[in-house]
Symmetry: C2
Subunit: 290 residues, 2 copies
């Protein structure tokens, strides 16, 4: 089976590359930490090295999403402004100049008020091929409202980055070891902040105090519950949600949505990214071939 | 003028020592970063070195508050349990064993539900010699309710530590450089979170998005406004407040309380600590001399 294109999600700290066939199925994969922070500007060399490792033909075109299209990336793909059609995303891809093969980088989407930005999630939204309220958990969790194939609005929540900062670098570190799981401590933390969102930064210190006073247990899951609860109460009620998240993080959001009683459909984040890159690729190269 | 005692606020990362006369006036001062994290257990040697630098007599007694009395400090001074009288603080001081001079460490105060702890602020509350709602801003801001000389309840807010983590170690770092001041950006940030406390972690990311979209300006002050606003709305309304804070941090809380329309009286934090240590010293040594 021969490859139709290579598809790449190139982020700040991670690099993922797939060979896709003409149906969008994955023929080969490379996952590394060759993110923007570590490649030192050697974008073409790093990409070619990974393509070579997958045995990609020299003329195979490449579609890229993520921070590689930011101002500090390979080549800037300027933000589309929301509200905008998701079909505008492949339409606004930029072609990398001065490289031997056809390499395109997809733009992110910005929003003027309230000010917000996404890069990478627009490709996942394209891959979903559906309307509704979409939750994309992560370092900077995104919530997007999609109607008739258009991104109407979206918001970003620092949930994942706050979790990382607090669990690794704060006074809470010793009280929140291990991995968060959707247990009673998680649900108690979630409900505490759903009921009283204004107590968040007090509840956080409570994790340290409970540990000092021997009332500990479940610290890391409670921390996750507080932060996800703060995100959910901030976003507000939704009739139903498409949850784009794999693995343990997806399990936590799933438990949170169940606790809220919000109906949801869960999609794998990686598969959704692949589907979005494939949709963009076919849109770009079929259009140009026509 | 001869010294009555030495008074020390010995924290996790800082060490402050004063010689006080019989009226509590400061005769000499040492300020260093010889906190718990850097002295490596050499408590007596470090203390004696600073006392010697101040020319303290070999028999001069020493009163200490702060983390030196924690489990990981010089000698544990077990928490008093709130509600408790502030006069119980000197009453529960522990005397360091095996040292040549009379050295006492004051206990902190804990609260079982909601779980909370303080070490150092109880000495400031003792130094205030008054009732009411007291705000003690800092890395872990404390709010205490004191009635008839008793600490009825208190709460801790991670405001200062979150500010440090977000401004130094998060994606916001490049968007929040410089020092926070009580300007319009501070007041706008404050009011945004006072109005909608549940949007905190979204508002934080907005600082980054505004900078990326060229809507920047006032990032660090807005960050401070968001976090102090979150603390104030979480604490809830107060008829009046005693604000124990010097310098720029005190100015920010002062502006926040003015914005809320909450009457307040401001006290210098260092002078309040000195007054509390002196009050504890006279209570301990007058009682024993009687």
């Amino acid at each position: 089976m021969s490859a139709y294109c290579a598809a790449c999600d190139w982020g700040t700290s991670s690099f993922r590359l797939w060979l896709l066939d003409a149906d969008g199925a994955v023929l080969g994969e490379r996952v590394s930490d060759d993110g923007l922070l570590s490649v030192g500007g050697r974008f073409e060399a790093v990409l070619e090295q990974h393509l070579s490792a997958l045995g990609a033909a020299s003329g195979l075109p490449v579609i890229i999403c993520g921070m590689a299209g930011s101002r500090s990336g390979w080549q800037e793909a300027a933000y589309l402004n929301a509200p905008c059609s998701l079909l505008d995303v492949p339409g606004a891809a930029v072609r990398i100049a001065g490289v031997s093969r056809d390499v395109r980088i997809l733009p992110g989407i910005s929003q003027a008020s309230p000010a917000d930005v996404m890069r990478g999630e627009e490709t996942q939204l394209l891959g979903l091929k559906g309307d509704g309220i979409v939750c994309l958990p992560g370092t900077h969790s995104k919530w997007a409202t999609v109607r008739d194939g258009r991104v109407e609005s979206f918001s970003t929540w620092m949930t994942g980055e706050l979790f990382a900062l607090l669990s690794r670098h704060s006074i809470l570190a010793a009280s929140v070891e291990g991995a968060a799981v959707p247990d009673n401590a998680f649900r108690d933390g979630l409900n505490a902040v759903l009921d009283q969102p204004e107590v968040l930064t007090n509840a956080l210190f409570g994790l340290r105090a409970r540990a000092l006073l021997g009332q500990g247990g479940g610290g890391v899951s409670a921390l996750s519950g507080y932060l996800i609860g703060s995100e959910l109460v901030g976003v507000g009620p939704a009739a139903s949600v498409t949850l784009v998240a794999g693995g343990p993080l997806g399990d936590l959001y799933e438990a949170a949505l169940e606790e809220l009683g919000t109906p949801f459909e869960r999609k794998d984040a990686t598969a959704t990214t692949q589907a979005g890159l494939f949709a963009a690729a076919t849109e770009i190269w079929k259009t140009e071939a026509a």
